[in-house]
């Protein structure tokens, strides 16, 4: 029963919020919105107080969810030992010490509440009854047909169909209305002046017409239930005032100024007449206090005609309605409301987060309690569930989800997470499995580990038993589900070969792990040859971390230029290994791999710079080539024989593009001719057929020009939080619409915003801009301001780094094998770049790199070394030539010494340079 009290308290709290809002808004609204609205808006509050409906996530639901353990602790549940135990205080709340609260009092709190509510309500009724009796005993019928006719006429004008009785009772102080089915107007005296009679009757008929008595009883009901809430008492008083005021408003709406004055007079007269019975306790019509009367008269004086629904009141209603819904209630799941035996104490209802995706709601399952809640309450058997974590189940008997009568019809996505330790031992169980019966359901990606169900259902001859789903009926989809029983952890009856052949990917891993190294190597080669990247990826996971196969296959994928396999292998590399591969890719000018490695090390900033540089570099190279055949480039425009080019096509013999440029203002279509070795031989006008072919191609999108990497710096993948970002920029003086940015009234050329880890929030370039601006962020990533970029920063960003380099010339006659040669110590900061270009006349292998300052010696290479590049003689040449390698985490800034080294025979005539590119 405490559950009921809990719901009531939550309703009370959320109703209180609304009451406070309305009370606070009262002075603002008094003369702005109609009295009618001010009256009826309270109905919303009353509904909130009386109706325990709630949204899935509501303020109260959350609040009470949070305080759940506290309540559960404070309210011991004696006959509840079989129920799910109260969830541990996983959310960090500290359970109340049980000793501090007397369990007997808290347990019977609801009795006090309900008892008081009932007594109050009964009292309200008896008081009303005795009042009505008193009035009836002393009343006299008005038999004057003139008055009756007036009443009837007024009723007709107001659209009151029913005949209303008219009585007088000299004992009452003011006119009142009694009864709903048989409405009676009771006047203190019959001898009222005609106008007073008219208005009094009008006022009372208005009450009748609007069923104000019902309204009042609703308020009384709320008051009785929420007797402990002083705000509800306040509300009761407010509604009474609002009732009279809105009634007055309705009466005077149809009156002119003298009429309104006369109505005010009537109110005054009525108050002055005075009877003996002060009717304050019962909810009858006109109980007056001087204060209220004053307010009513004031309202009449200030009356202004309003349209029935003003925009303001409509908006306010909507806001309050949403508020009412959002405030919600802590309603226990439907199950606990339905089954009375559960009502006695089951306050441990579980809640699940939801995820909206493409119009479908997924309930997120993180815990055992949530998993066990599927099929109860609002977590119906027809909902969609998505597992979000490995779940280790307690040994408590599992109850399969879905029965013959009520099959599971929703979806469950195990998401690759495991459910560990599912246990069923009931020998009488007929259906045994995680899911019992499913129909038109989706079950996928479910992994059961260490399940124990083999003894369940022993006594039942035809029990249905299967770990994931015992019985699937029509139209269910079941795939990618795996089950591993308790005890035989890594048992795969199938060999790796069989698994591979049968497409049994999960078992393949364990089978593969059982193979010897040579077998593994052979197998990996086979997978590699087949291009089965998924199996490759699984197989690598089952290799020992130090397996030489990882290095071997990295080498193989690198040599083959197989970037996707390489990226799989690279997942098994340490940061140091990645750094050295990066250096090697840089050395080989293998930008594709370098870019992929930047991705791997999270260096998106470097990747972008690299790409920008690559673009610049290739543009420059191509432009030079084109010049030789009479095509000049100016800005983004190409010119051929003085004409602006429309389509500019430069295609290799293998049909891959070097350049494809389209300029709608151009007049001629030009193609570059290349021979089979890729050398430019000339330029020519394109034939119509060629143009057709090209543009036709483009229409069906069959070519992918720059899909490999995004050359475009204004890439859209950081546009997702544009609105927020723009707001944040605005706060530090940068305004913009995503394309153009302005800072201190100047159009921005470069806008740079990157995180401390150098990944971008935004990098925007606008050729028309005049200033370069960067957004400043603190280490937590919070925007702290904006500033102009220094020239150095701009240079670094745009690749104009030549001007800032430190060149270390190298000219060494001989380097002995095994003896490093040291070329000085340099201070290197994070983000600095290094560029090697060294050749040797003789010798087979050349190493170049850095070591920590102070670790120099001449008889062997120190450990560790950084950004080391090793090159073997190739095509008769021994040369190390790299692009810029960025010095960054895990390479700490500091003093480093440059070395040259060989272990493949002496080097002679070593020449070249090492360039340090420093940011400041």
């Amino acid at each position: 029963m405490n559950a009921l009290l809990r719901v009531t308290v939550s309703l009370s709290l959320s109703g209180s919020l609304l009451i406070l809002v309305l009370l606070a808004a009262k002075p603002l609204l008094r003369y702005r919105v109609s009295r009618r609205w001010q009256y009826y808006i309270w109905l919303l509050v009353i509904a909130r107080l009386l109706l325990p409906f709630t949204l899935e996530t509501s303020l109260m639901g959350t609040l009470f969810q949070k305080s759940e353990p506290v309540i559960a602790e404070a309210v011991p549940q004696p006959d509840n030992d079989s129920a799910v135990p109260a969830p541990p205080a996983a959310d960090g709340s500290i359970p109340v010490e049980t000793e501090q609260t007397d369990p007997d009092i808290t347990q019977y709190l609801w009795v006090i509440w309900l008892g008081t509510a009932l007594i109050l309500f009964i009292r309200k009724i008896t008081v009303y009854q005795s009042f009505a009796q008193y009035i009836r005993a002393g009343w006299e019928e008005v038999s004057d047909t003139v008055l009756l006719d007036r009443l009837a006429q007024t009723g007709e004008q107001m659209g009151v169909r029913r005949s209303v009785e008219l009585y007088t009772n000299r004992l009452i102080s003011s006119p009142l209305l009694l009864g709903i089915l048989h409405p009676c107007i009771v006047l203190p005296a019959a001898g009222l002046p005609e106008t007073d009679f008219q208005y009094t009757v009008r006022h009372e008929l208005t009450h009748y017409k609007r069923r104000d008595i019902l309204y009042k009883w609703l308020v009384q009901a709320a008051l009785c239930i929420h007797w402990f809430n002083p705000l509800v008492w306040l509300m009761s008083r407010e509604t009474e005032r609002a009732c009279e005021l809105s009634c007055d408003e309705a009466v005077i709406r149809g009156l002119d100024a003298p009429g309104r004055r006369a109505y005010g007079d009537t109110l005054l007269h009525a108050a002055g007449a005075g009877g003996r019975f002060k009717n304050s306790a019962a909810p009858v019509s006109l109980s007056e206090s001087g204060e209220l009367l004053k307010e009513r008269l004031e309202a009449i004086m200030n009356f202004k005609k309003r349209t029935t629904v003003t925009v303001l009141s409509a908006c306010l209603t909507a806001v309050l309605l949403m508020g009412a819904a959002a405030a919600g209630a802590a309603v226990p799941s439907v199950r606990t409301l339905k089954l009375p035996e559960n009502l006695t104490g089951s306050v441990t209802d579980v809640s699940m987060e939801t995820l909206e995706f493409r119009g479908t709601t997924y309930y997120l399952v993180y815990s055992e309690a949530q998993l066990r809640a599927i099929g109860t309450g609002k977590y119906g058997l027809d909902k969609n569930y998505m597992q979000q974590a490995d779940i280790r189940l307690s040994p408590e008997e599992w109850v399969p989800i879905g029965t013959s009568e009520h099959p599971f019809t929703g979806s469950y996505n195990g998401n690759g997470f495991e459910i560990i330790g599912l246990t069923m031992t009931d020998p009488d169980a007929e259906i045994i499995g995680l899911f019992g019966v499913a129909e038109e359901a989706d079950l996928y990606n479910i992994t059961l580990r260490d399940y124990d169900i083999q003894n369940a259902g022993n006594k039942v001859s035809d029990s249905i038993i299967a770990p994931v789903l015992a019985q699937g009926r029509k139209n269910f989809r079941y795939y990618d589900n795996y089950a591993y029983p308790k005890g035989d952890s890594i048992v795969s009856s199938d060999s790796a070969e069989t698994c591979y052949a049968n497409g049994n990917l999960p078992q393949f891993g364990t089978a593969f792990a059982a193979l010897g190294q040579e077998e593994q190597k052979a197998f990996l080669e086979k997978i590699y040859g087949d291009g089965q990247i998924a199996y490759f990826s699984v197989a690598l996971q089952y290799l020992n971390a130090d397996s030489p196969l990882i290095v071997a296959f990295a080498e193989k994928a690198y040599t083959d230029g197989n970037i996707s396999f390489f990226s799989v292998v690279s997942q098994h590399m340490s940061q140091e290994e990645l750094a050295s591969w990066q250096a090697r890719a840089a050395a080989d000018e293998n930008f594709k791999f370098q870019a992929a490695l930047f991705d791997k090390t999270g260096q998106s900033y470097e990747k972008k710079i690299l790409e920008k540089k690559l673009e610049k570099e290739s543009d420059r190279k191509f432009a030079e080539e084109y010049k030789t055949c009479g095509v000049t480039k100016s800005g983004r425009n190409y010119y051929y024989q003085g004409q602006l080019v429309n389509i500019f096509l430069d295609q290799r013999s293998d049909k891959s593009f070097c350049t494809l440029d389209m300029n709608p203002n151009g007049t001629v279509n030009i193609k570059i001719l290349r021979d089979s070795t890729g050398k430019v031989t000339g330029a020519a006008y394109m034939t119509d057929a060629e143009v057709q072919e090209l543009t036709g191609d483009m229409d069906d999108d069959s070519w992918d020009w720059d899909d490999e990497y995004d050359w475009d710096m204004e890439d859209d993948d950081w546009d997702w939080d544009d609105g927020q970002l723009m707001e944040a920029y605005k706060a530090c003086g940068v305004t913009g619409d995503g394309k153009n940015y302005y800072y201190q009234n100047q159009l921005v050329n470069i806008l740079l915003d990157h995180q401390p880890d150098s990944s971008y929030y935004r990098l925007n370039m606008n050729p028309n801009g005049t200033v370069n601006v960067k957004i400043l962020r603190d280490s937590a990533g919070t925007i702290t301001g904006a500033a102009y970029m220094t020239d150095a920063e701009v240079n670094r960003l745009t690749g104009g780094w030549e001007e800032m380099r430190t060149e270390i010339p190298i000219d060494i006659a001989k380097i002995k094998s095994g003896e490093p040669v040291w070329l000085g110590t340099y201070t290197i900061a994070e983000g600095d770049q290094v560029c090697y270009h060294v050749t040797a006349e003789t010798g087979e292998r050349l190493d170049i790199g850095f070591a920590q300052a102070g670790s120099e010696n001449t008889d062997k290479l120190p450990d560790p070394v950084y950004n080391k590049i090793s090159k073997d003689r190739k095509d008769g040449k021994l040369e190390v030539k790299t692009g810029a390698i960025t010095w960054r985490d895990p390479l700490k800034p500091g003093e480093y010494s440059l070395f040259l080294y060989t272990d493949g025979g002496s080097l002679s005539n070593v020449q070249g340079s090492v360039t340090l590119l420093q940011s400041n």
């Binding site: 019928e141 009756l148 006719d149």
Partner: protein
């Protein structure tokens, strides 16, 4: 004991009595307008329902129409009213009433003779 009714209620009762003890609402309204009464519909309904409440009429529905039937005949009503009058004014003495009627010439000589014969005939 027949309850006291107002004059307007009596008007309605008379209409019911003259139409043979039962009358439809529409008939009552018709009769009222014929005798120059212009009461409002709801006034009439209120009066009729008061009569029902006081036990002089009962109401029944014929289709959607209301039919009122008198539960008290005109004679019964008159007797009851006279009894009330007697009790109120003459402390139950009919003699006093009759002498007042004769003294005030409210009862003519012929009427008196007629009454006398009526009395002689009916005497046991």
């Amino acid at each position: 004991m027949i309850q006291q009714i107002s004059d307007s209620e009596l008007e309605l009762m008379k209409i019911v009595w003259t139409s043979g003890g039962t009358a439809l609402y529409a008939q009552i309204m018709e009769e009222l307008s014929r005798t120059g009464r212009t009461w409002q519909k709801n006034t009439v309904i209120t009066l009729l329902s008061r009569l029902v409440e006081k036990g002089l009429l009962k109401t029944s529905k014929i289709g959607r129409r209301n039919r009122y039937t008198s539960l008290v005949s005109e004679a019964e009503y008159q007797a009851a009213q006279t009894q009330t009058l007697l009790n109120k004014l003459y402390e139950g003495s009919a003699k006093g009433l009759v002498s007042t009627l004769i003294r005030q010439d409210m009862l003519s000589a012929e009427d008196y003779e007629e009454l006398k014969q009526f009395w002689e005939r009916g005497k046991p």
